[in-house]
């Protein structure tokens, strides 16, 4: 087969199998922590990371992935240097790489050493720029993966690609043989792509309405719909690869060499400056910052929407059909994210989300849908794809069937986020006030309905205690906002009356005297982890006898061993639900236990993140493996919220919910009487 050659950039040459080129070094990017292992003898097996014989493609599990993104889209990079998930131009677009869901059909882009290798990785501190270190018997190399980001001011002065995934590999010691495999598959692996060699401009793939461009500082051989290279690198060699995408206009083709190096430095700086604004200074700063960075990855900057995760159909149980598309904006999750970021001092993200929320819900106000796409449109219908699924977990779905569900808790979450926003920073304009009061009126009229609730089962509605709690929260916060002068025109008497009725119903019908516990559904006999939130929203004191016995019941029924909790009982059981463990931490910190107990539990839960500090939706309690979509905003929200609550309690400050609500316990009881 004829060898098709790509251009060499003016810098960054290396040695590769077929053609020898002069050796030239360019300035190398150094981690702020230094370059680990430089000038040390190369010996495999020195760290805790396994040695992988990479003669064939190693299979990565969920926890083996890292996310890189640019607040518009995100890619998952495995610890073995393979990009196995990428959707452009936005989170919910069809994939170009989806090997995580089907290693044969999905498509991937791998840069990895040939032969036995030890893989180590870390994000560059305070950034979403990933470094993977390849340690082989003959040498070491560092692969840097990122989607470049830049300030708006910089973008006004320079042309940048619409979307870019930049990969740079530097041989730091000895010699190393690399294999590069670029195997794109469009529309979730359903369509083959044709790769064209444009010579000086790299490789081009016309896919649908857009075009991908792969530029590289070494030639790649095109084999059908793939491009590959085998490369020998020596210490000091630098290789760069840039994949970009354009569909709105002629593409901006990224220049490699110093430009790419500068792009890496600029991106690291951008992320580090963003991180520096985080106000949290407690003992868990590293975990909190990583969670904030993960959440920031899921924010869609052009609109202000926040997605629940960047993936679809990573299973909640291996081999099961509990596989859902989370690449949309759930109002609940987004509101919780906003609260977490607000707690860390990120006001801009909150403002963007509030604007987006008001815009997105304009057509349905005062009714709220459960989820929207990033531009506020309806999420698409659920559809199954012909992919093998993650470890044969089928079906793989896109779209989401929960889009028509009624989940009344959403109103409470949105209003609580607005209340915290107002409390800490801003007043509301007239339109926002009207919209929030409209939500309250809807809640006052509909809180008594059965709904699908926070766990959105496909089995129909029920009278969920958690939904009632959040309806109570919605009315309570609106009354508090009115009292504090943030809202004008709140129908106080109606809201107070309905708030009282909800409280009465929860206290009487959500309490099971036989079990000595609050229960998941009115008049029911089962518990779920959302009951831990009763004190958080100020409905019940954490140290009350009712809450203490409810906590005991939850631990008894939902414990998944160690510190983990199931969200509810199910047969066969799914994984332990990430955020529920953090809810337990907050319950203990709020007075359900001691601060020490809360810290101990928090410390234990942190172990269930992967080596980068990223969490999935669930954890397999048997193996500790990650389950469900990844990284999952919900779990990271829980982590940040728990850390903030611990910090507040350490300082003796009152909980944010206590500041945004009325003095609820006495106030609402008076209304009932």
């Amino acid at each position: 087969m004829a060898m098709e050659l790509l251009n060499f950039s003016s810098i960054g040459f290396c040695h590769f199998a077929a053609i020898e080129k002069p050796h030239k070094r360019i300035a190398r990017y150094h981690n702020s922590a230094g370059n680990p292992g430089r000038h040390q003898p190369i010996r495999l097996g020195q760290s805790n990371y396994p040695i992988v014989l990479s003669s064939s493609r190693p299979i990565a599990e969920i926890q083996d992935y890292a996310a890189v993104g640019d607040c518009r889209s995100a890619a998952l990079v495995s610890r073995y240097g393979s990009v196995d998930w990428l959707c452009w131009p936005r989170f919910d677009s069809p994939s170009i790489f989806a090997a995580i869901l089907d290693k044969d059909k999905g498509g991937y882009w791998s840069i990895s050493p040939a032969g036995p290798t030890q893989f180590e990785r870390a994000y560059i501190r305070g950034s979403n720029v990933l470094e993977t270190h390849f340690i082989c018997a003959t040498g070491r190399a560092t692969l840097t993966d990122l989607m470049p980001v830049a300030s708006e001011e910089f973008k006004r002065r320079h042309m940048l690609p619409d979307h870019e995934l930049l990969r740079q590999i530097v041989c730091t010691e000895g010699e190393i043989k690399l294999e590069v495999a670029f195997c794109p598959r469009s529309y979730y692996g359903a369509r083959h792509v044709k790769i064209e060699n444009l010579g000086a401009h790299g490789l081009r793939l016309e896919v649908g309405r857009g075009a991908y461009f792969l530029r590289s500082s070494v030639p790649l051989k095109i084999h059908g719909n793939e491009a590959r290279a085998e490369i020998s690198m020596r210490s000091g060699d630098v290789l760069q690869f840039s994949l970009s995408y354009s569909e709105e206009s002629p593409a901006v083709l990224p220049a490699l060499g110093e430009n790419a190096t500068a792009s890496i430095e600029r991106s690291v700086k951008w992320w580090q400056e963003w991180v520096a604004r985080a106000k949290y200074q407690g003992p868990y700063r590293d975990a909190v910052v990583r969670s904030a960075l993960a959440l920031k990855l899921m924010a869609y900057a052009p609109s202000g929407a926040i997605t629940a995760a960047v993936t679809t159909s990573l299973p909640e149980r291996i081999g099961s059909s509990l596989n859902w598309d989370y690449r949309y904006c759930w109002l609940r999750d987004a509101s919780l994210t906003v609260r977490a970021l607000l707690g860390l001092g990120y006001i801009e993200e909150t403002e963007s989300f509030m604007t987006w929320m008001l815009h997105a819900t304009r057509l349905t106000q005062p009714r709220l849908h459960v989820l929207y796409n990033v531009f506020g449109g309806m999420a698409p219908r659920e559809k199954e794809l012909d992919l093998a699924g993650y470890f044969d977990s089928r079906p793989v779905r896109i779209g989401n069937g929960a889009r028509h569900q009624l989940q009344l808790d959403v109103y409470g979450e949105v209003i609580e986020a607005a209340a915290q926003y107002a409390q800490r920073h801003r007043h509301f304009d007239r339109t926002t006030q009207k919209v929030l009061i409209g939500f309250g009126k809807y809640v006052a009229q509909h809180w008594n309905l059965a709904d699908e609730g926070i766990w959105e089962p496909r089995s129909g509605g029920a009278h969920h205690t958690h939904s009632r709690l959040l309806c109570w929260t919605a009315l309570d916060r609106l009354l508090a906002l009115s009292d504090k002068g943030f809202l004008d025109g709140v129908p106080g008497q109606q809201f107070e009356q309905e708030r009282g009725r909800i409280r009465q119903q929860i206290e009487h019908r959500a309490w099971n005297e036989e079990l000595k516990s609050y229960v998941s559904v009115l008049d029911g006999d089962g518990v779920d982890a959302t009951l831990l939130r009763l004190p958080w929203y100020g409905f019940e004191e954490a140290q009350s006898p009712r809450m203490k016995s409810t906590y005991r019941r939850i631990r008894q029924e939902l414990s998944a061993g160690d510190s983990l909790l199931f969200r509810y009982r199910s047969q066969p059981p799914e994984g332990a639900f990430g955020i529920c463990g953090f809810w337990a931490v907050e319950y203990l910190a709020l007075g359900g236990g001691t601060l020490k107990e809360a810290h101990d539990l928090f410390d234990q839960l942190l172990k269930y993140g992967n080596d980068l500090g990223l969490f999935a939706e669930e954890t397999d309690p048997g193996t500790g493996d990650a389950l469900g979509n990844f990284p999952q905003a919900f779990t990271h929200i829980g982590l940040i919220s728990a850390a903030l609550t611990l910090e507040e309690k350490e300082r003796g400050e009152s909980h944010p919910a206590a500041q945004t609500g009325e003095n609820v316990t006495s106030g609402s009881r008076e209304v009932i009487q």
Partner: protein, 159 residues
């Protein structure tokens, strides 16, 4: 020359041409974007480039329509099919000549031979602007033909 008629129909024909181009781009038929390409001559700022480019394109369309008007006046007759014929010729010139000259004229466009540099990053159009999608020539031809048809049909000759 009927100045008033030229000003009106030259303007409207250019608006329709721009709309057809933008529509073809929005429907995913082509990635050609005249306002963006023209605007990036003046600024790298994507949003401003589109605005500046739109204004430049409008002015250019108006000026080009003078040529159509001169031809109609010289022939002593307009008519939609004459306009369409000139539009076809105009489209061919744009595709064959202008597009091939563009990398040399545009300060931010990469050259076909050397590839992108730190300043010249914009993807060049290639022969018949095929780099922007295989349906680009069709979109350009339709847009310019309609441009000519409007001028031919509605421009009132000066007597």
């Amino acid at each position: 020359m009927n100045w008033a008629s030229w000003l009106l129909w030259g303007f409207l024909a250019t608006i329709v041409l721009t709309t057809i181009s933008a529509g073809a781009q929005g429907l995913g038929l082509t990635r050609i974007n005249f306002p963006y390409m023209l605007g990036t001559i003046f600024t790298p700022d994507r949003d401003r480039a589109k605005l500046y480019g739109f204004l430049v394109h409008l002015a250019a369309g108006w000026i080009f329509s003078v040529i159509y008007v001169f031809i109609f006046q010289a022939l002593g007759a307009g008519g939609w099919w004459r306009g369409a014929l000139i539009g076809v010729c105009h489209g061919i010139v744009v595709l064959v000549v202008v597009m091939s000259l563009l990398p040399g004229l545009h300060p931010r466009m990469a050259s076909e031979q050397q590839g992108p540099t730190a300043r010249n990053l914009l993807e060049p159009p290639g022969f018949l602007a095929l780099h922007y999608g295989v349906q680009t020539p069709l979109a350009i031809m339709i847009a310019h033909t309609v441009f000519g048809m409007i001028l031919g049909a509605y421009y009132h000759l000066a007597r």
